[in-house]
Symmetry: C2
Subunit: 384 residues, 2 copies
């Protein structure tokens, strides 16, 4: 990475950690064997692959046998929804993958509040007798708001109990995409109370296009990709051995450094936020400030043309986002900001700044100054 | 790779070429940006990704805009079948991914002949008014038999013309999984006359879980994985940048060395085959000996317990297969051998030997001697 670049878009992509890359390395050219082959070197590869799944499972308090490895979070989310025939509930601030998968079903989109919180009450109100799936991300990828997943799980659990007592066997499960949260939050499937969980290696300094779907034993998945019968028949295709081994190393590192890293990032983020709100008292910080990912700062400067600022910052080596990467490239206003009721002139002046491994005191201080300067320039220009 | 190992299972997996790995390397930790992000370093990554798709497309005489990058061949095959609602035709010797995807439809399995050839006539006879897809692999992964795809394409083309003239708008397409052939055959979508083509990087010394589906502009794909809208909305998920860049390098190398490598491998394979048939006149070489992949040798030793030989060979560092990797691990008899009418006592004495980059005159000569010795031992043991 260019020495002069200050990367503040860790929510969009993370660099593969050097240790992750070192772990993957031998499995490209040396231990390249097909894990389904019968001879010993291939069997050893199979064992390494299974051991990697164990490491990942342990990191989230799950069993390796309940993981289906996928090519990233989007496939995992689609797989979660594919097993459902009935009504689904999700929120109006979810990631595009959840929105798109949900639209293939009869769906109720519950509204997040102005902080981007999806309340357990809103889920409860949306439940129907034919609801089979509730899908809420652990943390919103634009705002960083951490959802009250535990309370939502209780609502789902109660409805399941009610159905059981009524002799109603309509399944009901809670799915959560924890891709954005797992680097900074201690994700445990039992504690979170979910029935299905999506993770993505590329958000935790692992390789791109490597992810998983964890399911509780009660979930009956319907495979979308059939063939050789890998992943217990739930997702066929020769296994991504280096990718999964890299994912395991990334999860191991995330677990080991989570506490330290979360504290470090929230201190850096808070300092940055304070300088911004001091320099621009009209700035609006979005998201739930108490329940927010440590590295996330979503801030809007009313009346500002954020796109222009983004490019001005880029010229000075500071890389930020105006929204999530997908939406950014389409030049459309973020559906999340519309959903939380941010007026257009505020939403269009938004920057999403996400800190991570590449952030340190020095480059955050420097970036903060540059961002303030460029916003001042842009305000001055537009007021002429 | 262990110096003492002689790897003869290139059809199951290939090591990532050092040049491929070098090409991928920068995109893990340095150019790790999300290709959908708006700032220049990400836009550069996007351009490199698109350039890689161009390289792959050119290698098969296609346009990059008609490629959908997937996580390997299995996903690609499933995507090809997902766009079909009507009747499908395939053969009884196809890869498990095609068989499984086909079984999700009303399907006719045409029979290959004793050489593993699927004739154009058999496809013609199986065509129904509601047939929408014919799927035949370019080369069979167990026997190495190269299919008369051009003739099959003509049959499909004629039926399409007939429908058009009759004012019948039922679509009909020809799909081919060319994963196993593209390393040794010059694959060109126009020349082959196919409408959809599957490729797999991991069969041509590229990374695992990287593949593609090429479709002619007339094909209307229905995406199985929806979300951020990547790959023209046909396959969502943050792109596998290093994987696709590695795939491009692998295709470039395959194109450059194809002629030399095919001649080299067929010479080595033929020498090996001759020594085997001289030592064991009762041995049966399967597949179409005139139209066969250069590195493929499928040979059966009647009455032999091939599984025992496989493990004896492994003890001496020689790695061969008894069938395809998926079937091998399940301990079931290959459906391909049953389909071509090989009697059980012949089928159970089969070795699939596939040569490739790791093969050379010296190790093939050595392996040939070892295989002959071990087969003689096993025959002697079983005749006691």
């Amino acid at each position: 990475m260019n020495e002069e670049v200050i990367y503040l878009d860790h929510a969009a992509a993370t660099p593969v950690d050097a240790k992750v890359q070192a772990a993957m390395q031998p499995f490209f050219s040396d231990d390249f064997y097909n894990p389904s082959a019968p001879y010993a070197p291939a069997v050893r590869v199979r064992r390494e692959y299974e051991a990697a799944k164990q490491v990942i499972a342990r990191a989230i308090g799950a069993k390796a046998d309940d993981l289906v490895m996928t090519a990233g979070a989007t496939e995992s989310i689609n797989l979660a929804f594919s097993s459902v025939t009935g009504h689904v509930i999700t929120s109006n601030i979810e990631h595009h993958a959840v929105l798109a998968a949900a639209r293939r079903h009869e769906v109720t989109f519950v509204s997040a509040n102005e902080k981007g919180v999806v309340s357990a009450e809103s889920i409860k109100a949306a439940l129907r007798p034919d609801t089979q799936l509730v899908s809420i991300a652990l943390a919103n990828n634009e705002l960083g708001t951490i959802q009250p997943l535990r309370s939502i799980a209780e609502v789902v659990h109660h409805e399941r109990q009610r159905r059981l007592q009524a002799g109603d066997h309509t399944p009901l499960h809670l799915h959560s995409d924890a891709s954005q949260g797992v680097g900074q939050l201690d994700v445990n499937v039992a504690r979170q109370g979910v029935d299905m969980l999506t993770l993505n290696a590329s958000k935790v300094y692992g390789p791109k296009q490597v992810g998983l779907l964890w399911t509780a034993p009660s979930v009956q998945l319907v495979p979308t990709i059939v063939g050789g019968g890998q992943e217990r028949g739930l997702r066929s295709g020769t296994e991504n051995v280096p990718g999964v081994i890299g994912f395991a190393k990334a999860m191991e590192l995330a677990s080991a450094h989570r506490k330290f890293e979360s504290e470090r990032l929230s201190a850096l983020r808070n300092a940055m936020q304070e300088k911004f709100t001091t320099a621009f008292p009209e700035a609006v910080v979005s998201g739930d400030l108490k329940h927010r990912l440590a590295g996330h700062l979503h801030i809007s400067f009313p009346g500002l043309d954020a796109e222009r600022v983004l490019f001005a910052l880029e010229m000075r080596g500071v890389l930020v986002a105006t929204g999530s990467a997908c939406a950014a490239n389409k030049g459309t206003r973020s559906h999340v900001l519309t959903a939380i009721g941010l007026p257009a002139e505020v939403a269009d002046g938004s920057l999403r700044i996400t800190l991570g491994h590449l952030s340190n005191e020095e480059n955050i201080a420097k970036a903060t100054d540059i961002i303030i300067e460029e916003i001042q320039k842009e305000y001055a220009r537009s007021q002429k």
